[in-house]
């Protein structure tokens, strides 16, 4: 099983889908405004599921910032990851 998702990994994944450098990703951005579409979100969900962070499409799509995504993902990681967050 791949290593669990870290904030850096999360940023890197977003950066890839947003055509940005990881340090450019603004976690306060709205996923919709950033130009993400449902297919990209589905693809990210599949990627993150492999790290053990299981979130649903609707849950992510409801969020209005990437910071909320991270909260959700961090909470769904295995217990250890959740404790760390």
């Amino acid at each position: 099983m791949p290593a669990s998702l870290t904030l850096d990994g999360f940023r890197a994944d977003l950066a890839e889908f947003l055509y940005q450098r990881p340090d450019e990703v603004d976690l306060d951005d709205n996923p919709l405004d950033a130009g993400l579409d449902s297919l990209r979100i589905v693809t990210l969900i599949e990627r993150w599921r492999e790290t053990g962070a299981d979130v649903g499409f609707v849950e992510l799509a409801e969020c209005t910032s990437f910071a909320q995504w991270w909260q959700l993902l961090a909470a769904r990681q295995g217990g250890a990851a959740g404790a760390e967050a």
Partner: protein, 1433 residues
Amino acid sequence: MPRPERHALLAAQEGIWTGQRLDPGSPAYNTAEYVRIDGPVDPAVFDAALHQVVAETEALNATFVVDEEGRPWQVDAPAGDWRLHTADLTAEPDPRAAALAWMDRDLARPVDLTRGPLFGHALLRTGPEQYLWYHRVHHIALDGFGLSLVARRVAQVYTARAAGEPVPDSGFGTLAAVREEERAYRASARFAEDRAHWADRFADRPAVASPAGRTALPARTFHRQVVDLDGTRTRALRSVARELGVTWSEILLAVTAAQLHRATGAPETVLSLPVMGRLGSVSLRVPCMVRNILPLRVAVGRSDTLRELAARISRELRGGLPHQRYRYERLRRDLRLVGGQRRLSGPGVNIMPFAYDLRFAGHRSTVHNVSAGPVDDLAVNVYDRSEGAGLRIAVDANPELYTAADTASFQQGWLTLLREAVASPDRALGGARAGGTVAVLDGGPLPGPAHPVLGLIAEHAARRGGTVAVEHAGRDITYARLFGAARELACRLAARRVGRGDVVVVALPRGGDIVTAILGVLLSGAAYCPVDPAAPPARRAELLDDARPALVLTTGAHADAFGGHRVLRLDRPEPAPAPAPPPPPAPDDLAYVIHTSGSTGRPKGVEIGHRALAHFVAGATHRYGLRREDRVLQFAPPHFDTSVEEVFLTLCAGATLVVRTDDMTDSVPGFLDACARLRISLLDLPTAYWHEVAHAVSTGAAALPAGLGTVVIGGEAALPERVDRWREAVGTRVRLLNSYGPTEATVAATVADLHDPALAPGDVPIGLPLPGTRAAVVAGELHLLGDNLAAGYRGDRPADAARFAPLDGLPGAPRSYRTGDLVRIGDDGQLRHLGRADDEFKISGHRVHPAEVESALLTHPGVREAAVVGRAGRDGTRHLIAHLVADGPAPDAAAVREHLRTRLPAAMIPSAVEFRDRLPRTSSGKTDRNALVGTAPAEPVTRAAEADGGLERTVATAWQQVLGVAALSARDDVFDLGAQSLQAIQVAGRLGAALRREVKVAWLFQYTTPAELARFLAAGVRPTAPALPTAVLTDARLDPDVRPGDGPRPDGPASRILLTGATGFVGVHLLAALLRGTGAEIVCTVRAPSPAEATARLHQALETHLIPLGDEERKRVTALPADLGRPRLGLEETLLDELARTCDAVFHNAATVSVLREYATLRAVNTESTRDLLRLTAVRSVPLHFVSTLSVAPPLGLAAEVPEAFLPPHAGLRYGYQQSKWAAERLLEQAAERGLPVTVHRLGRIVGPHGTGYVNERDFLWRVLRAGVPAGLVPDLFEEETWTPVDHAAEALVQLCLGQRPPAATVFNHASGAPVRLSDLYDWLEEYGYPLRRVSLARWRAELPRLSGDTGVTASVLAFFESLDADPAEETGPGLRLGRIRADNVVSGLRDSAISCPPVGRDLVFRYLDHCVATGTLPAPPTAHGRPASPAK
């Protein structure tokens, strides 16, 4: 019971509701899917689960109502007792097929939105452990995501119930929250930002390309082609997407865009992308309809690779997605892209990334879409079938636009392109360099070597020198003489050192001489360049400038026009120089230079070499099947390259070329008669003229000559309607060859057999390349290859020359000519022409580059900017429209056209000239032609704009009220004014109520101005009125040289007046009025062989009409034998000159009045005589007074009133008589514009003179009465109409023309009296003693023959009604009823005279009846009438 709550619709629902209202009975908005469950299912539990979920889903418990304003509302309405359909299909031979067939049937049932339920469910058992759960929902309730929420919930509830566990909460949000969110969005800054984004992105309203090239409303069904991409291919797709840094959906978008580019050649496509519009929205948890469509602009070039294109799309998508909540419908309204053929985006790509992996009590399932809703154009639907299973691709197509085969072939092409692109993402997608994607059509080998044309003709001269080569006006030229004369000319040219490498301009009219001249030039080694001797001087100068001729060959008549050039006059004999025949030209030498319109604003000279000519002749002779026995008509003017085809094919075959005379095309029947007389076996006709021939032949107005074997047409796209007519009338008796080809490929490049019975109706291919040549289709554009290509263009024209280029996509990269014509290859391998890739426009066989017209416009001092666009009417009419920005005060449109006439051929003169403040621009600053095409006036019905009554006003008023605008003219496009679909529905409702007939919403989208809609409604079910025949429009053009001359103007009271048609009903009364009103000599033209007979006829007419003349009056009448049906009125030139010198006024009253005859048989007397008289009167600016008819006016359906003004062409001109009189008026209109003193007098129903009770027996109404009264049956023809007694009409006319000098107005409608009601007339008839039954026209027509037997009167009256092509069900009969007839000019012109219209009523009618009974026209009434008519006063 409390009233159920009603809610405004969500914006997306409104779109669906509107769409449904366009076709209320359509099931197209049923969307459906089925879930295949692999495992046992408990139907009872499933049923319970479904009922629970339906009850939980607000959107399914609703119906829709419409309020008095036509606004829709959603009403809460529990779905109630709906039932799950269950069936066990396992006993069926193919259970799945049976299930799908059941679904198809279910899907085809329209849903009544006012009643519901909006959905349906079925559980179909297709295997021992396999169930299909079918779920259908009207799109107004749920979108695709909504459907998935419901399916997920059903799985959840079923699973819980099956396990006997408590059912968890649905988690569904409320519709109220969604409505509230939408409301908040509309009020937000976000909304404004989104609107601004789209307004900016689509400011230039990009053209939308689709393979169909047109739009249609969605049909009730759709074609669907489904294919699955297996796991391997899907993985390859995903992996290349990752490599390119895009998503797989963007790859599929790129492939779709590239495929569309290949099919259309368009440099940009706008895709329709359904988007769920739910990110960050409460609707993520609400099953409802909020889906939106995002228009995606994609620029595509043929060298684009997948890598480039996918990245471009990805960027565009990222820019648009944040603004995806802005409604598509709203954007269309913002951009004024509603209605007609306007659209915002084209083919759709619908990506459904949600693989729902549902479990039903632990059993796996897969989801299958059955219907995604209506299809506007094409749609590629992509369903992710969950992990590992790959993608399903369903291509849907609108059957109105595509066949099932088109759909399959699009999908095939798409899949091939996807495979290639995924395999090599850096290869060009466009096809040119992609190898194997260039479709090549081969015309097959030449039947033998291509011999040089001069060699072939020399051989005929040597072997069969006595055979006739050219026949012209009864003069025969044998091959020996032709060739001998040509050789002599070659020697004369050689003596002037003209030969190889030179160009000789040949400026001669059609005839034998020009054939000799052409051959002579070729024999000299030089190339010939034909120039129209009648071309405007500026145009001629331009052509000469380009041709740089060594010499001009012409005759004395035209020699002066070529000052500054060496001229050789053919008509001036000179001693033959010493015979030193020049050497024959080599294959690489030029044969001719012919000019076509150039995109740079200058005509371009196409240089054709001898090799190309020989090649073309060999291929075309074989293809057309030309033989020595053939007699070929030389139809085309020499400066058209069709003349090359006619001359060289004929002479190289040793056949006979018959040169047409100018008057041969006066009428179609006359033309075909002449062809029969001349024993023509092969006709080469311009398509525009052939359209007339096809029409005449199909209606029986003309017959094809018996000896005619082949007709070749070409020059522009043949109208499918005419082709169908021809096929029906002619069948395969005569071969009909459709030729296509630019001048650059030597006359014709491809040919199709249109007589082929295998062709489907409406299918008009352009066929296959000629033998010895090939064609290639690259990115939708036709390229021509082979030895028949031109050498290039005269002079240095790099931009044009670039069209000749090697075609890299083919082995050996052969030289090709890029035609700019978009084509597609049909299933039968033949080419179909789709349109142009550039602005070039074909009009009457001319290629017109707007740039050339624009540069001519800019030479007018009053014009600062110019943009010219072509416009093709739905009925096949084609116009050029000039949009101008004035420099200072706008010049007169007529003056601008006049200016162009001195510079351009007639076909290049725009029919409409519009001034604007500025020209629209695209974002790159170019003139936005699309915007101009979109705003060009739909039809030239300018005066309709002033409508203040009738149907047009009813329509305009309805729109005005609904749109809430202060004013709306008949020509305003309501969608340009911001009309919304909803409003269209409201207007349809109001109009339906006001007119008490059905008005379909769809019509409002098709006919977007009040004028168009009114015309459509007036025309009944017929959507388009036939266009005016070209012959009418051609005849309606006044020759440019007819303008005020410098002869001495008439002075003082008229002493000599010319009157035509003096023996007719109106004419004799006019003669009497002229004699009484003036002291002038009245010269009357009479059709008679001698003056004595003419005089006798005139007196006979006066006697018949009971008009006595005094001796003095009798002396002032001169009868002049003439024939107005012949050129120059059938008068000697000297006599004409004398009349021009001596007459002070002309009253032109002669006309052949016939409601049955075709235009062609009426034009000579009714139209051409007017032209001749205008020519005659122009010399001294003698007043010409023309007696016309109110029947030239547009009927009520088209115009609310008949103005006292000249009339633009209109759809009401349906009969030959109307057309001929209208064309004559049109000539007078131009004469008036040029300052000639003319008046027009339109007469309505002219009844017998008040004085005598004599009846106009030729009058149509009297003929109806004559047929109907004896049978006791009269038809309901009209409500009321104005009658004018003929003696009054004549007196008034003379007063208006001569009482005031000059007359106070130009056009007079003689309808100033009080109207007569038809019901009153029938009352009077009954009172007179005729028992009558009044019936509808249809009944009358049906019953009359039985009641009255087969009398001539009955037959001819009935024949007239039969000839009306109005819908026979239309009770009102002929749509000839006129709107209010303005007669202000007549009224004010007579005000100070003693002339007033006598009363027209019962007494007068009784006098007429007395007269009819006395003359035996009507039988005496069975019962004597109550009171004798009062005696005439």
